[in-house]
Amino acid sequence: MSQPILALKGVRKTYNAGTDVAQEVLHGIDLELQSGEFVALIGPSGSGKSTLLNIIGLLEPATSGSYRLDGREVTQLSEDEMTRARLETLGFVFQFHHLLPAFSALENVQIPGLMRDGSYTPERRAEALRLLEAVGLKGAEQKKPAQLSGGMQQRVAIARALALSPKLVLADEPTGNLDTKTADDIFALLRRFNQERGTALLVVTHDADLAARCDRVVRLVDGVIAEDKLIHASAAPV
């Protein structure tokens, strides 16, 4: 069995620690994700989903506990090391697609490569074109985000998240503001990449239907994992 892509042990998060208004929002989370898994993270508002996603996404540190990302302990990393780890290991898909409005679809997809390599390489460009084609945006490469529909923008965001072939993609309500049909398409796309590339996915969602189409559902309630069940056999070998 390969090592887990993600392993949290006893992760706690306290805001305003050491003050009168200190508030613990995560009370000891244990969670493992294998590479190639497609996991839904669900839970009511205020359950700590966003905080947990931020910690997993290395956007904020845990107050205590251990977090191993791709076999590496990351709780003690410096800000710059965390930034580097985000770039090299993770891909992000946000709810509001968050593309850079000044850049074309193709450029948006190439930005992670530009950040990592310091230049646009022909290989990266070819890869970006392939990804845009794979998400069904052939012909729209030169369009600016404002010229694209919400669903198309989210497709660009998915292509961008996959640009550097991350081992784990974190998606925060990726279909949150899309109509049902478009949401279905986007979800299918994520599933396809999960199967074709073996990319592990952690998807935060409110949509029970979508969650039911994942391999595994983790339910977070009041800062603890209330339920963690396998609903389909994972596509990727575990």
């Binding site: 904020e60 800000e79 930034t83 993770l90 593309l99 930005i111 992670p112 950040m115």
Partner: protein
């Protein structure tokens, strides 16, 4: 840096109006700095040219002659005389005899006091050839011209005029004084028997080019000279008093065979005249005078002007910098979300910092380049429209490469400095918060 450049330029392009306005502001600022600097440099150059005219920047003369023995004697004498005068004053009531005693004592005091300063006869600088060679080798010195000068009379027919006779070597003299620019008729040609005089003297004596006049000194019966050139030094007195003859001729007329009464020096940077003079003073016991000493009021006026110009330039630069800062601060707020995305995707804080510093640099650089053009246009306009009383351009258009290089350099530095605060702000944005906006 490719990533930073790409994002910085794209951010600037995206904020079209803002970018255009701030680059416009920087352009006006830099243009103003270029204009003020050009204007003041031009005016000062003009002022120096007009006021200093044909004067050398530094002059070396023999030291004043002081007879030390006599000086001591004179001082003792004064002591005795004043004691006598005091006595006379105390017994003042006996008017007739004492008044006479007082008067005689005063005469004695005056006589003794007069011996204190010796009449300064015309003398040559000791070892002037060697000294002139040494001066030529001094850093900052452009040209060295040994001269003789002294009093003489210019005679023609019934008329005679007191003149200041100058014996010069034409080539080095012209290098020091650029005197050929002042010639209004004929040439500055000084072979034996040639003379160049001022327009006023020519009028007074009624001579023109090719006419003859006679020069005579206290020690020499003199010679006839042919007028080869007329000059207008821009100063009536100089035009009336100064006459120029060949160095050797001057030496023999002034009875200074083989000698030089002064060495005129021109230097590269007129404002460093005092430094060069100081360096020369350490090497020679001759008197060394710079124009800064002899025309100290002019120098103070010019340095005050320079100071205030600098102050104005600094304020303009600061205003431009504050403008750049405020535009970038707004831009950071507007782009919080994008900065958050970039940070979340893995852009390091340093990269974000550089994105905004680069924007400051680009604005500064664009402002500098456009502003240099704008300032030059303004200068060209002013030099065309505004004229001096004599009809010449009030401001000579000076395209000084250093000025533009300095404008670009300063503007670049101020642009980057102006961007530091907003850039730090952008870099310190928390990506987790920024992407939720």
């Amino acid at each position: 840096m490719k990533f930073e450049w790409t994002v910085a330029l794209r951010f600037l392009r995206e904020g079209r109006m803002q970018t255009a306005l701030i680059i416009g502001g920087a352009t006006i600022g830099v243009g103003l700095i270029v204009l003020i600097t050009g204007l003041i440099n031009g005016l000062q150059g003009d002022l120096i040219r007009r006021t200093l005219g044909t004067l050398p920047h530094i002059v070396v003369r023999p030291p004043d002659e002081i007879n030390r023995g006599q000086l001591a004697q004179a001082q003792g004498g004064i002591g005795a005389a004043s004691a006598a005068a005091e006595k006379a004053r105390l017994s003042l009531p006996d008017i007739p005899s004492n008044a006479e005693a007082l008067a005689s004592t005063q005469r004695k005091v005056e006589a003794l006091a007069n011996t204190q300063a010796r009449a300064q006869r015309l003398r040559s600088i000791d070892q002037w050839q060697q000294l002139a060679a040494q001066i030529s080798a001094t850093p900052g010195v452009v040209a060295v011209s040994p001269n003789v000068s002294g009093a003489a009379l210019a005679l023609r027919g019934e008329a005679d005029k007191a003149v200041n006779l100058q014996g010069v070597e034409p080539a080095p003299f012209l290098r020091v004084t650029k005197f050929d620019e002042k010639i209004t008729a004929g040439t500055f040609q000084l072979n034996t028997g040639d003379i160049v005089i001022g327009t006023q003297l020519a009028k007074d004596l009624g001579v023109g080019i090719g006419d003859k006049l006679r020069i005579q000194t206290a020690r020499n019966a003199g010679d006839a000279f042919t007028v080869r050139g007329l000059f207008d030094a821009g100063n009536r007195d100089a035009n009336r008093r100064n006459v120029y003859v060949n160095f050797r001729t001057g030496q023999s007329l002034l009875d200074l065979a083989g000698g030089a009464s002064n060495i005129d020096i021109s230097i590269e940077d007129v404002f460093r005249a005092e430094e060069v003079a100081k360096a020369l003073r350490q090497r020679t016991d001759q008197q060394v005078e710079s124009w800064i000493e002899t025309s100290s009021q002019l120098f103070v006026a010019i340095s005050n002007q320079t100071f205030f110009t600098r102050l104005i330039r600094i304020f303009v630069a600061v205003i431009v910098a504050v403008g750049i800062t405020s535009v970038l601060v707004v831009s950071v707020v507007q782009k919080q979300k994008e900065i958050g995305i970039l940070r979340a995707m893995g852009a390091a804080r340093g990269a974000i910092l550089r994105v905004f510093l680069l924007q400051g640099a680009v604005i500064g650089l664009a402002g500098a380049i456009l502003g240099s053009g704008f300032g030059t246009l303004l200068m060209a306009f002013i030099s065309r429209v505004f004229k001096s009383p004599d009809g010449s351009a009030f401001l000579r258009l000076q395209i000084a490469p250093e000025l533009y290089a300095a404008a670009v350099g300063i503007s670049l530095v101020f642009g980057v400095l102006a961007a530091i605060m907003p850039a730090r702000r952008a870099a310190s944005l928390d990506p987790a918060q920024a992407i939720r906006i």
